[in-house]
């Protein structure tokens, strides 16, 4: 049965907004971008580093506008303790950027971030499982709830 024939179709568009990471912690991150984002907006954040990448479900908790700046919006994101849906995680579609060490940031932040890949000693990119042991950990490996749209889950 093809998707367009399913009863009760609902949709959510995933708009991709690029930015530059400023800082990151276990609970969230700050970035600057040229696209205006409203406080309370839900989405997925994917951070690319030279040796690792993380992906989290996140919510915009604060936006500061800086008129005249090249990237006029300073956005603070809060990571949410919701598992990243299958098919929406970080991918290897883009070459890694040369700046900074994201793996070091993740190591410093603790086990709460979902590290999704890193480079092995042979230079190959390998998948890394999440290590969520803390009570307030994010991105736990809980399966998606069947029958409940993602947008509805994020609104809770």
């Amino acid at each position: 049965m093809s998707w367009w024939t399913w009863p009760g179709l609902r949709g959510a568009v995933l708009e991709q907004i690029p930015g530059r990471l400023l800082d990151i912690g276990a609970g969230g991150c700050s970035l600057e971008t040229s696209t205006r984002l409203a406080s309370g907006t839900f989405g997925f954040v994917e951070v690319q580093g030279p040796d690792a990448s993380i992906a989290e479900v996140a919510r915009v908790c604060d936006v500061t506008e800086r008129p005249g700046a090249a990237a006029p919006f300073l956005v603070r994101l809060e990571f949410l303790p919701i598992a990243l849906p299958a098919g929406l995680g970080a991918s290897d579609r883009r070459a890694m950027t040369p700046e900074g060490s994201l793996a070091a940031a993740v190591e410093k932040a603790g086990p709460s971030l979902t590290l999704v890949r890193r480079r092995g000693s042979n230079g190959e990119v390998e998948k890394v499982g999440s290590a969520h042991g803390a009570p307030d950990s994010h991105g736990s490996a809980a399966p998606e709830l069947p029958g409940e749209p993602l947008a509805e889950r994020l609104k809770k």
């Binding site: 609902r10 990151i24 912690g25 098919g87």
Partner: protein, 94 residues
């Protein structure tokens, strides 16, 4: 007042935020989908669309905006977007 409970690590790198915006599906077929959205979209822009249906069925599509037109829905400004379905990335039947 700083409400942060965790330490911060200053770093630089590329970040991509995928913002999730709910849309109402007006018409759908294998090649084209028409939706009502709160936000406009540039013609030619490509994005992913998450489709869900009763019974936990889900599909993720790659779509390209072919048209965008403002319209009033219940007194609110909305945008009717016409999108071409480029590919289907995944389909989950639960």
């Amino acid at each position: 007042m700083d409400r942060r409970r965790h330490g911060r690590y200053h770093t630089e790198g590329h970040v991509e935020v995928q913002v999730l915006r709910d849309v109402d599906i007006v018409r759908a077929s294998a090649r084209e989908i028409t939706v009502i959205s709160r936000s406009r979209a540039a013609t030619g822009s490509e994005m992913r669309m998450r489709i869900t249906a009763a019974g936990g069925r889900q599909a993720t599509l790659r779509v390209r905006t072919t048209g965008s037109q403002p319209q009033l829905v219940g007194g609110q400004l909305r945008y009717r977007l016409w999108m071409q379905v480029l590919s289907e990335e995944s389909e989950v039947m639960q």
